[in-house]
Symmetry: C2
Subunit: 142 residues, 2 copies
DNA sequence: ATAGCTGCAAATGCTTTGCAAGGCC
DNA sequence: GGCCTTGCAAAGCATTTGCAGCTAT
């Protein structure tokens, strides 16, 4: 797991992504990458930032999330129409989605094996394989 | 593959789903289930119906698609934020998604094997496993 | 007759964009 | 100083909803 706790790490991470280390981006990066792996929506991250006392506009949150995604710091995932999550864990892994609570949990990549892949059309390259295991009726412990 | 070509088949299919066989639902069902397997968006189905000379409001298309989905005649799948496809193939299978063209293709369920499943929280039941293989850079033949 | 369905248009919710002001290098 | 960023508010898009009128049974 990526460890980026110090301010310098955060600054460097943003700079390495080819982005200016502005106050907003650093604050958001700190929220995203200081703890363990996270799955957040733009809305969630926005209210978190407000809760922590620094204000970032929602538009900037969206912009930043997409910039981080393009830079490879985040992975976007779509579970429901009209709701995008951003996953701070960019290693190969899959997801367990609790339909009732909307909670998302990682599944280690090697817990789900993909067998034989279908033949791809000539020239096509796999950019990613998303596996979402949808679960019902029982909310996770928390 | 489901074969439902005659009007009677269509009527029965809708009736079996617990829905009244109205003109609109029958027309849409005919578009959806007369050919082979299809992946359509609400918007697509709506313009198809207009093209065929019968008019159905977009709201009704959405309602109908969701009613069919709830009844188990369709399967909804989300590949991109803000775009829902409805798949007339409800058997176990997965998808190849061409990111450039937005085209979706079925992958036979047995071409992708799921190995060991992660332990689920107590009481949880898998409602579905979605596997989307995202492909880049090459549009399919058609 | 009546319960269910449809159509329209307005409302919703998430996301993106345009543009003026501000901040990093 | 110059260019990238930000913030706000407005626009955008897909989808849903409210309600009056219509239709299958």
């Amino acid at each position: 797991m990526r460890q980026a706790v110090t301010s310098n790490d955060i600054i460097e991470m943003v700079r390495d992504a080819g982005l200016r280390p502005t106050r907003q981006r650093l604050s958001l990066a700190r929220l995203l990458f200081s703890g363990g792996d996270r799955h957040v929506t733009a809305e969630q991250l926005h209210s978190e930032s407000l809760g922590q006392g620094f204000s970032v506009s929602l538009a900037t949150v969206y912009n930043t999330l997409h910039q981080f995604t393009t830079a490879g710091l985040l992975r976007e995932l779509v579970v429901d129409a009209g709701r995008s999550y951003f996953d701070t864990n960019i290693s190969a892994h899959h997801h367990l989605y609790f339909e009732d609570s909307g909670i998302l949990r990682d599944v280690a990549g090697d817990n789900v094996a993909i067998g034989e892949l279908p033949a791809l059309p000539e020239g096509a390259k796999i950019s990613r394989i998303d596996i979402i295991i949808r679960v019902k009726d029982c909310a996770p412990a928390a």
